[in-house]
């Protein structure tokens, strides 16, 4: 625990963390103070000059920037004195002076610090007497994902610091002087780093925007659902931001112990996949059938098989609840295949394992050894194979997938639980449509053994589409709809938690915002390895809602 000291802000005493600056002290106690360049996860810059406060010093009262001033015991700070307010207003006035004010066509509107701060701290009388200066530089192509509007930039250098200090690919700079200063790339160069999307998040104005989000939605229509990214084993905390049952963007969600407030482009721009190649209707030999017929047929067919003849194959893509259902209801013939870890990786966040829950499969003790099953398939002893949420026939260089292709004729019944119309769909007898992770509640364990929940953001296209864990339960037990024990995947979690000491005290809706750190061996290093950034997150600060 950090040492606390007492300071006096606006004539009232507050306990604050010893090593914090005045902006952080104010944040910890909800004392409003404007800022642009200060960002909780970046080194302090002191370049925007808007966070003005008045402090008492041995030399007398002094107006200074709060973000560059560390608190001291007994320090007297005024955010609302006449001088402080005048300084705040003047600094802000300069930032707005040559601003294009194209809010109606700016994607940042609604989450723009310039709008918000002006609303709270601005002066409303327009005092300009000389001609306006138009900086220009509109809608420049700045990279694969980023559009740059130089004239909207307020020169806070957040993007520069993010690229310089965190990603360590210096790509942006400020050129020229005075009112002509603009944010710029080197001529003819583009932003190329794999974390570029974050620059648009932290840009306090609409100078950096995302091609994938521009002109798509007004931010005030978006609903935010707490979830995780499933594109690699890091499992960054995110918000799924959606409207009208469509996902419009993924935004990193603050998690100090995990992704801080960043995410990689691979993860961020995977949101479209949730709506692509979806399958909503059950198939029997590629013909559409009803859900009733689907579950009746499967129950009928499986009834006649001994459990030893039924095999279940899952991948590291499923939720803990699905693994639990497999372990609990599906007998001993369940294996989890681990595809090769072949993705891009680095020391920040990205991991080579392009799947979210290998740790979950381990936690629930799923078999990963496939040799015994391969043997049984080759000998024709498997009468039914149920594939769960993994495009098995698209796996290259995998001995199990190989064996399956060669011996497919030896398995009379193949059932596939999937949310997507992928290669495996065409090779099986029955297709059971299931929900994507955005359409159900679920939990996942990332590579550093953090259990996080992913909450339901979207409503499935058809009311009979179940989460994979519930579909599995239904198939394995032959339960009729009205006999089901679970109506939601979170109930499956609430059932499973009672078996584990580390989870027992957390109901699904009480799983902490930052996850539960499990005591199991990690599969990867902690994020941001060897990257030392001088920032300071006060333990008393409330979570960062947006930049």
């Amino acid at each position: 625990m950090q040492k606390m000291i007492t300071v006096n802000i606006n004539n009232q005493e507050y306990e604050v963390q010893e090593d914090c600056n005045i902006v952080e002290a104010c944040d910890a106690h909800n004392i409003p103070l404007q800022r642009f360049c200060y960002h909780r996860y970046l080194p302090v810059d002191g370049s925007c000059r808007t966070c003005m406060v008045e402090i008492e010093t041995p030399q007398g009262m002094m107006v200074t920037t709060a973000c560059t001033t560390k608190v001291k015991p007994g320090m007297a700070i005024y955010t609302n004195s006449e001088k402080a307010v005048a300084a705040q207003k003047s600094a802000l006035e300069f930032l707005l002076l040559d601003h294009p004010l194209d809010c109606p066509i700016c994607d940042k509107a609604g989450e723009c610090l310039l709008q918000d701060n002006y609303f709270d701290f601005g002066r409303y009388d327009f005092r300009r007497t000389v001609a306006r200066y138009f900086k220009g530089g509109k809608a420049l192509n700045a990279g694969e994902h980023i559009v740059l509007d130089q004239e909207r930039c307020i020169l806070c250098r957040r993007c520069i610091r993010f690229f310089d200090e965190i990603v360590r690919t210096p790509e942006l700079g400020i050129i020229s002087r005075g009112h002509e200063s603009s944010i710029s790339l080197f001529p003819e160069k583009f932003i190329r780093n794999p974390y570029s999307g974050n620059s648009a998040d932290i840009c306090p104005v609409g100078a950096l925007t995302l091609k994938e989000f521009r002109f798509k939605q007004r931010v005030w229509f978006l609903k935010k659902t707490k979830s995780i990214c499933t594109q690699c084993a890091r499992g960054c905390s995110i918000y799924i931001e959606h409207n009208k049952n469509t996902v419009w963007r993924f935004m990193p969600r603050e998690n100090p112990a995990l992704n801080r407030v960043w995410m990689c482009d691979r993860g961020r721009f995977s949101f479209n996949k949730l709506h692509e190649k979806r399958i909503f209707t059950p198939l029997k030999h590629q013909e559409e059938i009803s859900f009733n017929q689907l579950y009746d047929d499967i129950a009928e067919l499986l009834k006649t098989r001994r459990s030893g003849e039924i095999a279940w194959v899952v991948g590291p893509f499923s939720s803990n609840e699905t693994y639990y259902a497999l372990k609990t209801y599906c007998g001993d013939n369940a294996v989890c295949l681990m595809p090769p870890a072949s993705g891009e990786r680095d020391d920040l966040l990205m991991l080579a394992e392009e799947y979210p829950n290998a740790q979950g499969a381990t936690f629930f003790g799923l078999q990963t050894e496939t040799a015994p099953l391969i043997d049984k398939i080759q000998k024709g002893r498997i009468a039914a194979l149920i594939i769960v949420e993994m495009d098995l026939f698209n796996l290259r260089n995998d001995s199990f997938a190989q064996c399956l292709m060669e011996n497919i004729h030896k398995i009379p019944l193949k059932i596939y639980l999937t949310a997507y119309r992928d290669e495996t769909v065409a090779r099986v007898d029955y297709v059971v449509p299931v929900r994507t992770y955005a359409e159900t509640n679920g939990t996942f364990i990332n590579a550093t053994s953090l259990l996080q929940k992913a909450c339901q953001a979207l409503v499935p296209e058809h009311p009979d589409i179940d989460a994979a864990c519930i579909a599995l339960y239904t198939i394995a037990t032959g339960a009729r709809k009205h006999q089901r024990r679970y109506s939601d995947a979170s109930e499956m979690y609430d059932k499973l938690r009672s078996h584990y000491d580390e989870l027992r005290s957390f109901q699904f809706n009480q799983i902490p915002e930052y996850g539960i750190a499990l005591n199991m061996p990690k599969r990867a290093d902690e994020p941001f390895k060897g990257i030392h950034v001088d920032f300071n997150v006060c333990s008393t600060a409330k979570p960062l809602e947006e930049s």
Binding site: P170, E171, L172, G173, I174, I175, S176, R177, S184, L185, F186, P187, E188, K189
Partner: protein
């Protein structure tokens, strides 16, 4: 990389490096050297300097763009730097500016069509006692009037038609 210092310039640069504890400190002298070598600092030159000094190209670009004395474009054979600060302004710099813009058909930041003259407005050249002042390449021309400037320009034009490179 296409551009490169001559051997002499490279030697000079290496000597500069010995003067500072950190190579990054050589950025400004390196840029000066480059401007002398190549006449101006193109994007290509900036990338070369970045590599030489061991800094990201965009940081070198920031510095080169900050200081107006670095030319990003090829300047004219004669680079006219007219002081626009207060003493010169009071002593008629505006008239000189109009004269240049009209007779040479160049605006600040531009180069005349024949490539002979480029024009730039600069801040105080530190010669206020002889205001108004124009610096042409590295020479100062003091206490100017439109007539004096006209004579100088004519002289330069005449010179450049021959092979005389002196200013």
């Amino acid at each position: 990389m296409a551009v490169q210092f001559s051997e002499a310039a490279l030697k000079e640069y290496e000597e500069i490096v010995t003067r500072y504890p950190d190579k990054k400190a050589t950025l400004l002298p390196a840029l000066w050297l480059a401007q002398r070598e190549f006449g101006y600092v193109s994007d290509e030159v900036l990338e070369y300097i970045a590599q030489l000094v061991g800094m990201p190209a965009v940081k070198v670009y920031e510095v080169a763009e900050f200081y107006t004395m670095f030319h990003k474009k090829k300047p004219g054979k004669y680079h006219l730097q007219l002081c626009q600060t207060i003493s010169c302004y009071l002593r008629g710099a505006e008239d000189l500016r109009s004269y240049i813009q009209e007779t040479l058909q160049v605006l600040p930041g531009e180069t005349s069509a024949d490539g002979l003259f480029s024009f730039q407005l600069v801040e105080c050249l530190g010669s206020c006692h002889t205001a108004p002042v124009i610096k042409i390449n590295d020479e100062y021309y003091d206490s100017l009037t439109v007539e004096k400037l006209d004579a100088i320009i004519r002289h330069l034009k005449k010179n450049s038609s021959g092979e005389d490179h002196g200013v």
